[in-house]
């Protein structure tokens, strides 16, 4: 009996210690980071006084671990050899990338952060599992513009000067060390523009031109769709849509950052996206615009223009991708990225054009689309910042890491444009937008000489910020309501958005359930926060 008690005690003790081991390791790793920051603060003071050469700061050789997303890399030896040679000379450091893939990144990265792993730099953004704002609040990222130890001023002034203002503003978040910047945003496509994806090949077969789509809107597509349906037969569904995207396109509304249930809308002025039309967050499904949209989409559905499989959450994505790739559509929905028509035209074997619904706009979600954060578990945050600075300002390093070694992974043609060597690239293709400042890259032969200077940079730097740009809804106080609203939304939204149910009966029922689950509380809270945001700015 006595033995048993002793045993039980021993085991519970063991269990408690293992439980706390997870937290303990993190605190431990955080402590040295704090030590080093004070040290470097002193070091920079010294540097300012004696104007010591920069190399002194990086006297000891270190290895930087870098966790990336979306990679397709199986052999990085050749690239790393050159990268490390270069980095050794510049910042006295070796680079050790962890090539996270689409499927593995979320699990691997969150586990590494929570486990206090010795990774120095993490990819983070508004849509990955190591979500930027959430983990900033949790204290996982080093604040880069910390007034007591401003890493950007000390080691990252070049990258900061190179970034557009809107990206810098978008990176400001309310983190564990105060409101500030916790990651270096990547200069990639950050504007959002919803477009009609038009199968021009089919359109012209039917005797129309692109101008016929441009002059129409969703409510007047009827005759085009009817013509396509008639020409291609009963099994052909001319309108290939993603329900939620279609709804936003037609009603000119955008996602409210932080709305996890997908029930809130913020309306834009389609003529000028930066124009404030009385900024207000509303119940997405309760507006007149929505009712009008629902009736129209129902009409198209009944006419056989929309594949019923698109209205079913389980099959929608597969069907969408399959129909797009097989070019089995006339008009579709697409959130646009610059140059996308060339990619899809080639992949689908037809002429694809994208007809925009509005000008491109910039919201906070898009500016946080791909960022690099320095982990608080990193022992060398200064060196990590120096690396990010170099990566985002030095074309040689960027080319090397993104496209590989010249002569092996790619060659330059007569115009000095990049032509890939497919064999070598099959083992080394990191995700371009997940790397950093892609405007440093030499354009590919498909993109053309002036792609970045004449097309890319003007397109995105001219994209206007929406009126409530810096606003993001913090739903902590209404999380219970949001969770039950998400269930209601999942039950009704897609089928109404795709027209597979009659809005005359389903919509009132849907609204009633939303009301019963506290939609008004959520809308009120979101608006209170929005008002507070405008009052502060």
């Amino acid at each position: 009996m006595k033995q048993k008690k002793l045993l039980a005690l021993l085991l519970s003790a063991a269990m408690v210690t293992t439980m706390f081991a997870g937290c303990g390791a993190k605190e431990e790793t955080a402590a040295p980071a704090a030590d080093t920051t004070t040290e470097t603060a002193e070091a920079t003071d010294d540097a300012a006084e004696t104007a010591a050469p920069e190399e002194n700061k990086f006297a000891d050789h270190v290895t930087l671990k870098w966790y990336l997303h979306g990679s397709n890399v199986s052999d990085d030896a050749a690239v790393l050899e050159k990268v490390n040679e270069y980095l050794n000379e510049k910042i006295n450091a070796d680079l050790q990338p962890i090539w996270g893939t689409w499927g593995d990144f979320d699990e691997g990265a969150t586990l590494a952060i929570n486990g206090g792993d010795d990774v120095d730099i993490y990819f983070t953004c508004s849509w990955s599992a190591d979500e930027y704002n959430k983990y900033a609040k949790q204290g996982a990222w080093v604040r880069l513009d910390d007034p007591s130890n401003n890493l950007i001023d000390q080691y990252g002034s070049d990258v900061w000067a190179a970034l557009p203002q809107v990206l810098k503003d978008g990176a400001v978040t309310d983190g564990a060390a105060g409101t500030g910047v916790y990651a270096v945003p990547g200069f990639k496509d950050f504007g959002t523009q919803n477009t009609w994806d038009v199968n021009v090949t089919l359109l012209e077969e039917l005797g129309y031109t692109l101008a016929d789509v441009e002059s129409r809107d969703f409510y007047s597509f009827g005759d085009l769709l009817a013509a396509a349906k008639e020409a291609k037969g009963d099994d052909f569904y001319p309108l290939v849509i993603e329900g939620a995207v279609l709804e936003r396109m037609v009603t000119n509304s955008i996602i409210v950052n932080g709305d996890t249930a997908g029930v809130l809308s913020y309306y834009l002025d389609p003529k000028d996206v930066s124009n404030d039309i009385g900024s207000k967050v509303v119940n997405k499904f309760g507006t007149d615009e929505y009712a009008k949209f629902a009736n129209q989409v129902r009409e198209y559905y009944l006419a056989g223009y929309i594949d019923p499989a698109l209205a079913n959450g389980g099959t929608a994505n597969d069907t969408l991708v399959a129909q797009q790739n097989a070019a089995n559509y006339l008009i579709g929905t697409q959130s646009y990225a610059l140059g996308y028509e060339y990619t899809t035209s080639a992949a689908r074997g037809i002429h694809v054009e994208y007809v925009p619904c509005t000008d491109p706009y910039v919201d906070k979600t898009a500016t946080q689309g791909a960022m690099m954060a320095i982990s608080t578990a990193s022992k060398n945050p200064e060196r990590a910042m120096a690396f990010l600075n170099l990566l985002n300002t030095d074309p040689y390093l960027m080319m090397l890491l993104e496209y590989g070694v010249e002569g092996t992974h790619y060659t330059l043609d007569d115009n000095g444009l990049v032509v890939f060597n497919d064999d070598a690239r099959a083992t080394y293709s990191p995700w371009r937008n997940g790397m950093g400042n892609i405007t440093l890259l030499t354009p590919t032969a498909d993109e053309g000489v002036d792609f970045f200077t004449d097309t890319f940079v003007p397109y995105y730097t001219n994209a206007k910020a929406i009126p409530a740009f810096g606003y993001s809804f913090v739903p902590t106080s209404v999380e219970n309501e949001l969770a039950s609203l998400a269930n209601v939304q999942a039950q009704y939204a897609l089928s109404i958005d795709c027209g597979s149910v009659d809005p005359a009966t389903a919509l009132p029922e849907f609204l009633e359930k939303l009301d019963a689950n506290g939609i008004q509380t959520v809308v009120d809270e979101a608006n209170a926060q929005l008002d507070a945001y405008f009052a502060a700015n």
């Binding site: 033995q3 045993l7 085991l11 269990m15 293992t18 439980m19 081991a21 997870g22 390791a25 979306g70 990679s71 397709n72 890399v73 199986s74 052999d75 962890i98 090539w99 996270g100 893939t101 689409w102 499927g103 593995d104 979320d106 699990e107 691997g108 586990l111 929570n114 486990g115 206090g116 792993d117 849509w127 496509d189 959002t192 993603e242 939620a244 995207v245 994505n317 597969d318 969408l320 991708v321 399959a322 797009q324 790739n325 097989a326 697409q334 959130s335 646009y336 990225a337 996308y340 990619t343 899809t344 992949a347 083992t427 293709s429 995700w431 937008n433």
Partner: protein
């Protein structure tokens, strides 16, 4: 009538037998048909999959995916080798650990057997959770980016301990061990020369279970290898291809054009089926080797009576 007489005494009636046969045939079909479908898909051309979806009778056949898979070269063969290496080394190591541990537990003259039984059994009921396990394995024990990181975490399996302990207790009589001791056999000699041969069916069962566990493991390699191609097993390669596609499909709305662009770089459905075939064939071949021991293991109880 004559036939009727030849039937064994313990035979069930004909209608029952027919029913049982039908049930068993259906059950076998449930197991085999999906695999046949996988093989067929692996030979189906990409166009046929887009047009018709998965089908037992595709519109057109193609060897394209196999050609592509074999052209993957280094990554494929390396992961194939890794899978074999991890499975063989892991199985030998884990069977040895399991046999040693559970044999001790099966001996009634071992003073702390109750403690050590409970010690292993406890971990079946309460796990440390993912993050603490990760911290202990990676930071404390330093197991990452090596074969050891994949082999060691799976080496100790309390469920197998209990199965094996029970097996030793029921199939190895105490008298046998006593007799060996009287004849002057030391503990290790008794274990390896006397007990192991008697316990072969049990050891074979555990070996098969462990081999399958090692062969199919992808989660541990994902956590501790992090796409280190040098050590990555085939199952991880396969699962990560599958997860890439799923992730992009799920996040398509959030990522917009970016997701469709990335989708171009992922593997085709037929290619993934090729890898499934490549992954299943070797382990399916392992069954016949172990089968006779397992059958012997199942019947041994009744022989003892």
């Amino acid at each position: 009538m004559a036939k009727e007489k030849k039937r064994r005494i313990n035979a069930v009636s004909v209608p029952t037998e027919i029913l049982i046969h039908i049930a068993m045939i259906l059950f076998c079909a449930l197991c085999i048909v999906p695999f046949i479908l996988v093989i067929i898909i692996s030979f189906t051309s990409g166009e046929s999959i887009t047009e018709k979806g998965y089908s037992f009778f595709p519109n057109s056949w193609s060897l394209e995916s196999y050609k592509y898979a074999f052209e993957m070269g280094y990554v494929l063969w390396r992961s194939y080798f890794n899978s074999f290496f991890i499975t063989v080394v892991g199985t030998v190591a884990s069977v040895l650990v399991c046999a040693l541990y559970s044999y001790s537990l099966s001996r009634k003259d071992f003073k702390y057997r109750n403690f050590f039984t409970f010690f292993s059994f406890f971990t079946m009921l309460f796990g440390g959770g993912l993050v603490p396990t990760f911290v202990v394995t990676k930071q404390l024990l330093g197991l990452h980016d090596s074969y050891a990181a994949v082999i060691i975490p799976l080496m100790v399996n309390p469920f197998n301990f209990i199965v094996m302990r029970t097996f030793f207790q029921t199939s190895v009589p105490d008298e046998l061990i006593e007799a060996a001791a009287i004849d002057g056999s030391g503990e290790y000699n008794t274990l390896f020369k006397i007990v192991f041969p008697v316990a072969k069916p049990g050891i074979a069962t555990i070996a098969l279970l462990n081999a399958i566990a090692y062969w199919n493991e992808w989660f541990i390699p994902m956590l501790y290898l992090r796409n280190d191609v040098k050590h990555m097993p085939l199952q991880h390669l396969l699962v990560s291809m599958q997860r890439d596609v799923e992730f992009l499909a799920k996040n398509a709305a959030m990522m917009g054009a970016e997701a469709s662009k990335a989708m171009q770089g992922t593997s085709t459905q037929a290619l993934r089926m090729v890898l499934v075939v490549l992954a299943v064939v070797p382990i399916a071949c392992a069954y016949p080797f172990f089968q006779r021991y397992i059958v012997a293991g199942l019947t041994i109880g009744s022989v003892k009576g």
